[in-house]
Amino acid sequence: MATIHIDGKTYEVDGSDNLLQACLSLGLDVPYFCWHPSLGSVGSCRQCAVTQYNDENDKRGRLVMSCMAPVQDNMWISVEDEEAKKFRASVVEWLMTNHPHDCPVCEEGGHCHLQDMTVMTGHNKRRYRFTKRTHQNQELGPFVAHEMNRCIACYRCVRYYKDYAGGTDLGVYGAHDNVYFGRVEDGVLESEFSGNLTEVCPTGVFTDKTHSERYNRKWDMQFAPSICHGCSTGCNISPGERYGELRRIENRFNGEVNQYFLCDRGRFGYGYVNRTDRPRQVLLDGQALSIDTAFARLSDRLKARRLVGIGSPRASLESNHALKELVGAENFSTGLTQSEQELLELTLDILQNGPLPTSTLRDVEAHDAVFVLGEDLTQTAPRIALAVRQAAKGKATEIAAGMKIQDWHALAVKNVAQNALYPVFIASTQETRLDDVADTLHAAPADLARFGFAVAHFIDNTAPVVTGLSNEVLAQAQSLALSLLAARRPLLVAGSSLGSRAILEAAANIAKALKNREKAASISLVVPEANSLGLALLGGKPLESVLDLSTADALFVLENDLYRRLDAQRVDEALSKVSTLVVLDHQQTETLKKAQFVLPAATFAEADGTLVSQEGRAQRFFQVFDPTFYKPGDQVRESWRWLHGLSSALKGQAIDWTLLDHATEACAAAVPALAGIRDAAPKASFRIKGLKLAREPLRYSGRTAMRAKINVHEPRIPQDQDTAFAFSMEGYSGTQELRQQIPFAWAPGWNSPSAWNKFQDEVGGHLRAGDPGVRLIEPSGADSHWFSVCAAYQPEAGRFISVPVHHIFGSGEMSALTPVMQSRIPAPYAVVSSEDAERLGLKDGAQVQLRSDTQSLTVTLNLSTQLQPGLIGLPVGISAIPVKAGLVIDAIEECVQ
């Protein structure tokens, strides 16, 4: 701690900060551009100047750039000093000389850091009379729009894109005031994290192109705190709605999870919510019904039948639990196949009973050695990949600390480290997007597991020995084991994306070995879907075990497309037997098309619920908007509401639309492991100063006109009984009172995402009210056996074993339904090793037919030098390609043109 004097007042601040961080953490408004909590200081924009004095008697002082000035004890500075103020106004004025007359037609307007800073410094009149420099724009793909005229050359974009996210295709060109930030030529931005440019850029150079077609200002959107459903990471998001459509996803700061950044799947993969083909009416045999009639008919049909329920890892805990209550635990399936469920249960077992604690996403960045076993993180849990990249860069901070350079001194840290990295090792089937910061091993899944077992043995020689490994692999394993042992805090990342149980067993062995060597290590296991871990905690039978149905059964399928999980024949066979198939979903899935009863379920934007992320963090997502406000007949409801209403109808009671808190409470009470979800978010009765929390910013416009076309007589706004949020700007939206659940970042004078500063204990730190979510899993260390080593991979002549290849764009079931994402989703393809291709006489890019015992597929053939012979990589979730791992392809034949 250090004591500093700002404008005559004395404050206690963190002595390791720079002055700008210190001032912002104190809540003082010091304007800045080039500094960013996650990117550090470079002192290039000169905007954050303050006056520093030698001592209390010094009246003249000198201007310093606060982001480059370390905090010193007994420091005397002034933010309000006239000279400093004048200097800052001049800086904005010269940054604005080339800024175009664009704000009305700029999509940054209204949440623009440059606008905020211009107002803050008081520059309001243009004196520059000469011509403005202009630039040509580039086409950067479907996600990010580019408008270089607006650039103020703060360099944040390249510092984020290249230095932070490891991108290579965005750079800075030209010199002096001509500098140009872009690609060498037009083209899609390669980085999977390019969407963050829209928030990192303090002005409108990079904007969200997916929002452009139906753009509206930030102040006109209705937000709610939400959780990304794109993968199991559980990033916090602020989805914004206008006119009944989801318009944009903004990052929601969570100091333990995603901090300032999201991946492009999470940020841009929201379009499925707005699809016009979504089921929106209760349908009985294709006929639309009122809710009451539907319930009457449905309860008639269900009487005296065995009810069977199939849950889903993409549905909330509340929905799954409501289904379990309706059908009874003995008839409830998780909706996962036998093999998926075994992997998930093993994952949960390792997390609950294993020796190592799971790492939070932010904590991943604090590890100094990372072993990624079998996961292509960038594709399966992208935000974790970004965190692993930061972990590797932690080396630079350590070197800098040795030279007494503060960690925020970004350029100095970068220079002194000369690209030195902490060890990261990735064992995978093919190249990954993290390879540039890692050592790699590419092998078949079984061999990856054996490599893992070998590493475990080298760490702790009581672990089972792996025999039959080549010397080269053994040497790699040994050196990896040594670097893990040499590290202060090693991190082990594994997961089930390859569908290999052995990989998880190997990970368990490594964890145990690290524990035995008393390392302060952590583990992070990636699971397939947003609520996979929650479903594992809830428990249920595998899909196959409930599919032996008779005609007397009624089958409920909750937000699950069975055709993605099992062979079409198997599903058809099972469904053909049931006379009553009830499907609750929000998309036109294959399963839904077979349903007799369709109950339109709500997406995350229209529903409340709780998810458990891969670190075991239970987080609540809240309804963003009420669809009935614009579509009065809309029947979309949360699945848990449908199911609970149905169960009360079946009991012959009046339909009881339970509230969220009751649904959560019922779930927490029924499953001891989920008791913690009660505290994942405040209850509906939560109030600040007697107010609900506002979903809309204060300036929300058009309230008396936006619905006037339907009817000029305005109805009362929807009342939210379920949560502490109001569908209105009436309610608390300030920064002073403590609150975890923040629908949107706004503070007086701060309209851009920089407003998060005002909610944090210190800028870039944690939310003052504590970061949202509650961790449910703490390892007990009870599990003490070693898993035995699996058999080595044996290629079979003439046959190919499939391995799943995950894609950030396309593998997510829901995000793949987003229209704007289509151009980024790969066309159906298969990848085989070059050796195999050469043997079969196939060329890269050839159209080939794959034949297995049950089906045949036509795909484009890609070649890989890294994939093991005898394997065939098939993309996950791409239409026409079965998702199942371990599919055996009997033959590959080139299609005749």
């Binding site: 175009p100 704000c103 009305p104 008396t704």
Partner: protein, 182 residues
């Protein structure tokens, strides 16, 4: 005592004087205008019915920036931005609920493109409230209104078809980033 008597007398006098003064108004000209028989003079800056104007090229001036909507104290303007083929922004719909409008003119003040203007016309009463909801078709006029010269896209840096980068007011030609000159 005397003082208070004088006070009362003076009070009585002022009251009587008021009576006389008010009575004298019986012989003054009446200020009331016999509308609708007599036409009302409305100054050009009168704040009446709101219109959307076009720029001198005949294109819609409104760029759907939403500033009028946010400035509106009655929140009676709502619109949706969309983009034309040529890169211009325009409102997909633009709705003013005149049953809520208070004709304060803040939308006109906020408008950066002089698109939204208040006109000297107040005769818009209707029998059905629903008919007071004006859509873009009802609001858009064919002329430039009070500002015949102004054309936002000649000033703005946004390029549109027919006005490439560097062609707006006070703009230099686009930089050749790959050029070697300093």
């Amino acid at each position: 005592m005397i003082r208070s008597i004088i006070h009362i007398l003076h009070g009585t006098y002022t009251q009587l004087r008021s009576l006389v003064m008010v009575f004298s108004h019986a012989f003054r000209k009446r200020d009331t205008l016999q509308y609708p028989e007599e036409a009302v003079y409305l100054p050009p800056r009168y704040r009446g019915r709101i219109v959307l104007t076009r720029d001198p090229d005949g294109q819609e001036r409104c760029v759907a920036c939403n500033l009028c909507a946010v400035a509106c104290p009655a929140s009676c303007i709502s619109l949706q931005k969309t983009e034309a083929e040529d890169g211009r922004w325009y409102p997909e719909f633009f709705r003013i609920n005149f049953s809520r409008c208070i004709f304060c003119g803040m939308c006109e003040e906020a408008c950066p493109t002089t698109a939204i203007q208040l006109t000297p016309d107040f005769e818009m009463a209707d029998f059905r409230r629903q008919d007071l909801v004006y859509e873009k078709e009802d609001l858009l006029i064919s002329g430039p209104g009070k500002y015949p010269e102004y054309n936002f896209y000649r000033v703005s840096g946004l390029s549109i078809t027919g006005k490439p980068k560097g062609a707006a007011q006070n703009e230099a030609a686009p930089i050749n980033v790959k050029g070697l000159l300093p």
